[in-house]
Symmetry: D2
Subunit: 247 residues, 4 copies
Amino acid sequence: MPIRVTVWNEFRHEKAEGPKFDLVRSHYPDGIHEAIASHLRKSADFQVGTAWLDQPEHGLTDEVLARTDVLTWWAHGHHAAVGDAIVSRVCQRVLDGMGLIVLHSGHASKPFTRLMGTSGKLKWREVGEREILWVTKPGHPILAGIHDHFVLPHEEMYGEFFDVPEPQETLLISSFTGGEVFRSGMTWQRGAGKIFYLRPGHETYPTYKDANILKIIENAVKWAAPVTGGTVLPGFPNPKIGWVDEK
Amino acid sequence: MPIRVTVWNEFRHEKAEGPKFDLVRSHYPDGIHEAIASHLRKSADFQVGTAWLDQPEHGLTDEVLARTDVLTWWAHGHHAAVGDAIVSRVCQRVLDGMGLIVLHSGHASKPFTRLMGTSGKLKWREVGEREILWVTKPGHPILAGIHDHFVLPHEEMYGEFFDVPEPQETLLISSFTGGEVFRSGMTWQRGAGKIFYLRPGHETYPTYKDANILKIIENAVKWAAPVTGGTVLPGFPNPKIGWVDEK
Amino acid sequence: MPIRVTVWNEFRHEKAEGPKFDLVRSHYPDGIHEAIASHLRKSADFQVGTAWLDQPEHGLTDEVLARTDVLTWWAHGHHAAVGDAIVSRVCQRVLDGMGLIVLHSGHASKPFTRLMGTSGKLKWREVGEREILWVTKPGHPILAGIHDHFVLPHEEMYGEFFDVPEPQETLLISSFTGGEVFRSGMTWQRGAGKIFYLRPGHETYPTYKDANILKIIENAVKWAAPVTGGTVLPGFPNPKIGWVDEK
Amino acid sequence: MPIRVTVWNEFRHEKAEGPKFDLVRSHYPDGIHEAIASHLRKSADFQVGTAWLDQPEHGLTDEVLARTDVLTWWAHGHHAAVGDAIVSRVCQRVLDGMGLIVLHSGHASKPFTRLMGTSGKLKWREVGEREILWVTKPGHPILAGIHDHFVLPHEEMYGEFFDVPEPQETLLISSFTGGEVFRSGMTWQRGAGKIFYLRPGHETYPTYKDANILKIIENAVKWAAPVTGGTVLPGFPNPKIGWVDEK
């Protein structure tokens, strides 16, 4: 049974006026979500949908979330425009087992910061410098097929301190031309849901056409998918004493 | 310099009408907060204040929090009555370095669940069964002076699954007469702030008179206190490339 | 491609003289390894071999290990009889990516304690008391299909403190009739290799016929299997400065 | 009561013949251990001893270890010369609660790799490039008084992947001129003993005269010291069922 992925995007940069946005469009004429979704659609392992900010309920209705195994979240400038009720819905689905892949500036999004309990803040610089991503957890499923490092020639810089909780696993650490470092791939779990943060993906660079980045996203979707026949929880009951002997 | 502790309590059970509340009062005539605060006051290591729900701003004004190194939080029935603005203020102080000791039913409080990003839900039963607490991390400062286990003759039961993020450290695990288990002492960090959850403390039992429990709270306050001359963060700036060579 | 599993067993209890060993034989006439291996063989997902202590090189030649994706290790009384060279070989294969499932008294085995760096010691009692295993990480692949708890009517007791490093994940915690608790399912990683410890499995009880235990072992083998096309490491070289610009 | 520190050093580079070793001597005329020890001796918080490889039992007799709260370990070229019996003695003391601060090339030392269960291998390059160390866990006691980053103008490079277990906490990450990164400050616990690894400290640079490095070592010694009146463990007994009711 394929993994049902919903690729979410703000999808505003790609439609805005001005030279910066022309550049975004040149990389992603159909939107960043389509760059990711079209890659995933190549594999029969995935059943892929997309959704974006300006759709009703941001495209994340109860029905859409109910049939989403893994949600990927790209956002960079319009975090405040996401309605709190939709954020609560997304977070509840994560606790219930939906995987969440947070991309780039999703670090400051409402769903991510609410699930982390921290600000998600970081240092940053946008001059198109070189980023080298180094593997710090070989053997992890999210790193399948990745060499010990790879290079993105031009990216926005994100620098430590990155205000997130100590991760369960640190998978990737970046260095930038300017000397900063960043924990660029990290995992957490909230309730039954797995969460992966992946740093690169500034809208003015063709990062979502990079083979390593696409491979990592593809791996992460598989890793974050809920387990078939998951754990069977009875909710949070108030059992009588002696229950164990009554069985 | 002493550690400045603020002991927070709902302080409603102790003032309510009815046989259950008479029992609470019999254990804690001055309130649960005074049982904890009076223990801490015996040591010159601490400078102790108290605060409760029905004070203005729940006793947690900006001024009070600014002079609080560690906040302890006991609550059992009135989580919803805590105002969101005060919750935000408390959480921000934790990110900035204030320690937080969450006691018993504080598992469902707004500050704790917001910092965790999970529901904090659990199984429960109130029949006064026996709880044995087992040490799972000898050598941890919070366990100084504690034997490999200790027994509370009567307590409310809390049972797994406890919906919190994987802890940084599991210090104590309880078993109950009825067969349930619970991770009763766990640590996390959010921003620069240390967080410790300690399970026991139902209001109808004299748990906050137990020497082991008081010792653990005392240890935890020391552990959670912000470090003198802490880490010096420049905020989250946008540094120029080349900064490292300009120094 | 099936996962290649080698099920290792001391296989001495099953062949020894005396009433205790008759009991072991009554549960496991072909050895504990066959109880586990025959379950795994029912699925096309696995290609299953077995090995035991009294074979040449304990059945763990270079050739066998080279074609083993996941090794399961049951041992209870003859840890010292395992040769150090074989132990080194097993540990090296784990660092290189082989999964390791350590069962019951494997807690004191040479491969496990060497990979942990701790003694693996614990409390214990053998009176056949009831064990309840509680899920503490719903949604984890190793717990697929497992309810929030399950009961083994008779088992040896293992009690905390269990001298292992803080695990990456605590999946299961047991309570016993006598009041002890134990972290019965835990994960770690060493090098590229995943490690899972599962507590139950005393030789005088039919634990490896229990559906939950067999399901957990099956899940764990899948979880611990090396990733196809894993991470590509260049070893630990001494690269020249400027390498990144020469590409 | 002061913390009793033993500063261990190979103390061979400082006494060897040749231009490289003249350089080492110019920085550390009395040995690297004295650079560290003389800093710690300035504070009444510490009672400082030293020991080195070519002393009988490498200076680490039972008596010395019994009165050592925290051991610091610097080594770069003579790991194999450390006797296995002494290594076992050191590791056992760590499990019993002694803190261990592993410096620079101690990553490949016998005590560290035995406690980790991994190879401790890494990439490396010795051209004296610039290292920037970034704080990733503000608020940690080991980082008291440290800014968000600091620079060492010339150091040996160590690069990821660094083959150690997932740390409990990542405190510092380095970037180097050549583009590599390294987790330069990490913590683990083994038994009751706390372990801290600190990367910098190549013998041909005056790293142990750097104020930040000395401050971090000083902080780490305090953090790693066993807790007064620690946890009281009964060993690993075989308790009778019913013990809890007999009390």
